[in-house]
């Protein structure tokens, strides 16, 4: 009975301040964009139900402050992460340059059991700005960096326009799941009988 608990996938979004971490998360979870997000202080999170291979999971997406350099939230915060999303702004070179720092610091703090194969995803955000004319980081450059770090999946997104956001997070969820040990997964087949009612009851935020 107790193992009926839905599986939780913990995702942490990192990146420089102002690259659009909060916006990406909100676009994915709430399907809306706002210019009015305040700077994130500390960390905040949203959850979303995702379905992978007919199974439902709760994606717990942690949005961190761009200035939060790990010390404050403590290692417990990063431990147990199933996937780390690195975000940069394609119009700001520095935010791209910092990806390496973010990645290394994450590995240091989270100390995953298999750092070489820990799932990262890189998102190049704000591709909508100025029709792409103001971008300073080319797709080629970004992909080259991702390839050099063990073929990290790369997506170019626009949180404002909702471009590629769904696809990126679907990939995030898949990769997070791969990282999760298999034996935790147990869902009784009675759930599937419920059909239409399932989706609703499962998104109430309760875990039982």
């Amino acid at each position: 009975m107790a193992s009926r608990r839905r599986m939780l996938l913990k995702v942490i979004i990192l990146g420089d301040s102002g690259v659009g971490k909060t916006s990406l998360m909100n676009q994915y979870v709430n399907k809306k964009f706002s210019n009015q997000y305040k700077a994130t202080i500390g960390a905040d999170f949203l959850t979303k139900e995702v379905q992978i291979d007919d199974r439902l999971f709760t994606l717990q997406i942690w949005d961190t402050a761009g200035q939060e350099r790990f010390q404050s939230l403590g290692v417990a915060f990063y431990r147990g992460a199933d996937c780390c999303v690195l975000v940069y702004d394609v119009n700001v070179m520095k935010s791209f340059d910092n990806l390496n720092n973010w990645r290394e610091e994450f590995l240091l703090q989270a100390s995953p059991s298999d750092p070489e194969n820990f799932p990262f995803i890189v998102l190049g955000n704000k591709i909508d700005i100025d029709g792409g004319n103001s971008r300073v980081v080319s797709e080629k450059k970004a992909k080259a960096w991702c390839a050099s770090k063990g073929n990290i999946p790369y997506f170019e997104t626009s949180a404002k326009e909702g471009l590629n956001v769904e696809a990126a997070f679907q990939c995030i969820a898949m990769n997070a799941l791969k990282n999760e040990p298999e034996e935790d997964i147990y869902l009784p087949d009675t759930i599937d009988v419920a059909g239409g009612g399932r989706q609703l009851q499962r998104s109430s935020g309760c875990e039982c």
Partner: protein, 764 residues
């Protein structure tokens, strides 16, 4: 400078500058002298000094961080060129300054979007930017960290509100505030008072002549003004000490004043709570933790004393305090409350002294708890946690728990929150020290308590307007409950009364029942007032909790109304002063029908319930005032024996109601539960919040029964996934078994209902 000022007289009925928050904050933060004997001219001199310092700083730093002009290029071009990597070169400074500016701009553009009408004007943005940049340049060890801008914004805002207020008053009393009547403008003020002359453009020489008589009447009319207007007049008068530079309410020097306030807030004026440290990763002195993490631990420490079960619940779920407290603390609750409410919180915060109550050689646990102001920060956090208590206890995972913590309800009952925080403030101070140094602290505290302006002098216990329970109320009840002659006699002496209080407290606040209670100090006498206050508060809380539950029943009752005469059922139950079990039953039955009625979307029910309960907790406060005493007399532990009977009766009553009014629904629950899976899953989910409440109520009702408490505590810790209505009812029956009253019919009905539901749970 002024931080070592004379302690304020406790007898001041109303604090100085009560209508001018900005001025008051400048006094509280330690910028302006706080002594009531300080004359306006004293304040003006200090003000002028701070402004001069800012002007100097601004001139120096802004020049330092501009690229060198052609004429004054540095002689050593190998160091000073735009491509130099040397951060100390002029160009290096310039670039780091530009980077800093970008960071600040990025956050300022996202500052208070809901108040963009004020904060996003180019003037305001430029001012905020300059202040932040200068503060960061002046404090390179801190630099700019996200959140600092939100500490500054309210400071600027209150100065702005003060000036608005000044303009209002000026309009009302134009005669008194016209200072350019004599035609002879002082050269000094002429140079720097252009804002003033701008405001009084419509002047022409003709009127000036006409105005001459005012010079004579001016002194008179100022004397005749009400004290408040007089105060404003004096604060905005250009002719006192330091002239225009000393005008305390001055639009022109708003930037200077705001900078000074930010500086004092960040630095803490040599006090304990220095906001800058909350942004710093540098580990603190007492623990090997960064100050903000240490402060987060401090609030859990305080919570563990005040509400052991809630603390245990959060720890068990793995909810570390910094996950939510980082934001709470760094922007001093600016994200959890709307600006208007935040200002009220900061009023309280700043009015608490920031100097350490603990001797430098004394041992303490948490630095932040060393001053009343730091203690208030932690106490408010605990107050907020207690505000969400039932909601948090109902959570089963860290995810849901954090969701509630990171989304503090909009429009909370500020009065309740702050009163609670104030009652916890002293406890926070006391809990921080080792017993050896506690005596010294309590001596110092007496002074600090008496200076709080909200406390009438001589009153050790702040009485809230929400509910006034006599100090001795619970003491009385305790005596009645035990009918113990000895205790009664002893309670007349101070020491044992505090012992009783302690016992009650231990029970009421769910402190650990072990003898090695951390609170137990030798100076029980000095603590008793705190305990009393705390206890008084807790009893209110209990009442609030009960009312909360009671009022909650209206929500499902409303739903019920559509199905049957559920509303009258609820009203009847309240009229008959039924115990909460009854109400809880109503709620449960209400929910069962809720599950049924919109069975198509069980998900919505869950959400609605959460929302409604929040709403009702606000409503419950309005109940407090009226029904307080009544509720207390009903719910008092002294009526324990009756209550058990009553509870059974209630159950019977409820079951009858269930039979009469909800029979169909109940049957439907069972049948639907058997038939369809989704509803069945949804039903126990909706119950989740109840075990916590049951526990709370039972503990209250039968607080002295240790065994029950333990079993209930154990019960609450159980994975309540499977707990359905029936489980809860079973449990309550189990508790009541020792009473003679046993209604077989009730039991059977409930048992059969419970078994059918349990079967289905197992079937699933």
């Amino acid at each position: 400078m002024s931080s070592a000022s004379v302690p304020e007289a406790s007898s001041t009925p109303q604090k100085r500058f009560s209508n001018l928050r900005g001025v008051r904050w400048r006094v509280d933060l330690g910028i302006l002298p706080s002594s009531p004997s300080a004359s306006i001219d004293d304040l003006r001199r200090v003000t002028a000094d701070t402004r001069r310092r800012y002007a100097t700083l601004r001139r120096r730093l802004l020049m330092d961080h501009h690229p060198p002009k052609d004429g004054d290029a540095s002689p050593d071009l190998t160091v000073d060129n735009p491509l130099s990597q040397n951060p100390d070169s002029t160009w290096g400074r310039f670039f780091s300054y530009a980077e800093l500016g970008r960071m600040v701009d990025q956050d300022l553009s996202r500052l208070y979007p809901e108040h963009s009408g004020y904060f996003h004007t180019p003037t305001c943005q430029a001012m905020l930017r300059r202040i932040l940049l200068l503060w960061c340049l002046q404090h390179p060890e801190h630099g700019y960290r996200q959140g600092m801008h939100e500490l500054l914004a309210p400071l600027v805002y209150v100065l702005h509100v003060d000036l608005d207020h000044l303009i209002q008053v000026q309009k009302l009393h134009e005669d008194c505030f016209n200072d350019e009547f004599d035609g002879i403008i002082l050269p000094e003020s002429d140079m720097i008072s252009n804002y003033r002359s701008r405001r009084i453009r419509n002047w022409d020489s003709g009127i000036e002549i006409e105005n001459n008589p005012y010079k004579v009447s001016n002194g008179l009319s100022v004397g005749e003004l009400d004290p408040h207007t007089r105060e404003i007049f004096l604060l905005s008068d250009s002719y006192g000490a330091e002239g225009e530079l000393g005008v305390i309410l001055s639009e022109r020097f708003m930037e200077h004043d705001a900078y000074c306030m930010l500086d004092y807030l960040m630095d803490g004026a040599q006090g304990v709570l220095a906001m800058a440290s909350f942004f710093s990763p540098v580990v603190g002195s007492s623990t090997n933790l960064p100050p903000v993490i240490e402060a987060s631990s401090a609030l859990y420490h305080l919570l563990s004393i005040v509400d052991h079960s809630l603390h245990a619940h959060l720890v068990e779920l793995g909810v570390e305090p910094q996950y939510f407290a980082l934001r709470w603390l760094r922007v001093l609750y600016g994200r959890e409350f709307c600006l208007d409410d935040l200002l009220v919180i900061w009023d309280e915060l700043f009015s608490s002294k920031n100097s350490s109550c603990i001797d430098s050689d004394a041992e303490y646990n948490f630095k932040v708890l060393c001053s009343p102001r730091g203690s208030f920060v932690a106490a408010l956090a605990v107050s907020m946690l207690l505000y969400l208590r039932s909601s948090l206890l109902a959570t089963e995972t860290a995810t849901t728990c954090l969701q509630r913590l990171l989304n503090f309800p909009q429009k909370p009952d500020m009065k309740k929150l702050i009163e609670k925080a104030k009652s916890l403030q002293m406890l926070a101070l006391e809990s921080n020290i080792t017993s050896s140094s506690s005596q010294r602290l309590s001596d110092k505290n007496k002074l600090n308590v008496s200076r709080g302006y909200s406390l009438p002098s001589g009153s050790a216990m702040p009485k809230t307007s929400v509910s006034v329970i006599p100090d001795s109320y619970w003491e009385e009840k305790w005596r009645v409950l035990h009918e113990d002659e000895e205790l009664r006699k002893q309670s007349n002496s101070e020491s044992s009364s505090s012992g009783i209080m302690k016992k009650i407290l231990t029970r009421k606040l769910s402190l650990s029942r072990t003898k090695s209670e951390p609170l137990e100090g030798k100076n029980a006498q000095s603590q008793s007032s705190v305990r009393r206050r705390l206890f008084d508060d807790s009893s209110k809380d209990i009442v609030a909790e009960i009312d909360h539950v009671k009022s909650e029943c209206y929500v499902p009752a409303f739903v019920l109304d559509n199905l049957n005469s559920g509303k009258s059922f609820t009203e009847k139950s309240v009229d008959q002063r039924t115990s909460d079990c009854m109400v809880e039953e109503t709620l449960l039955s209400g929910n069962s029908s809720m599950v049924l009625s919109p069975a198509t979307s069980p998900h919505d029910i869950g959400n609605d319930h959460g929302y409604e309960s929040e709403k009702s907790s606000v409503t419950s406060n309005s109940f407090l005032g009226d029904n307080d005493e009544e509720t207390l007399s009903t719910e008092d532990p002294c009526s324990q024996n009756h209550q058990d009977e009553e509870t059974i009766n209630m159950e019977e009553h409820c079951t009858q109601n269930l039979d009469n009014q909800l029979a169909q629904d109940v049957e439907a629950v069972s049948s639907v539960v058997i038939d369809t899976v989704p509803e069945q899953v949804a039903a126990p989910k909706d119950r989740k919040s109840f075990p916590g409440k049951f526990q709370w109520i039972w503990r209250f009702g039968r607080g002295c029964d240790e065994g029950n408490q333990k079993s209930l505590a154990g019960y609450s810790k159980k994975d309540s996934c499977n707990i359905s209505t029936c489980d809860a009812i079973y449990n309550s029956n189990g508790v009541n078994k020792r009473t003679e009253v046993g209604d077989k019919k009730v039991m059977d009905t409930l048992r059969s209902l419970g078994q059918s539901m349990l079967e289905n749970v197992q079937f699933l």
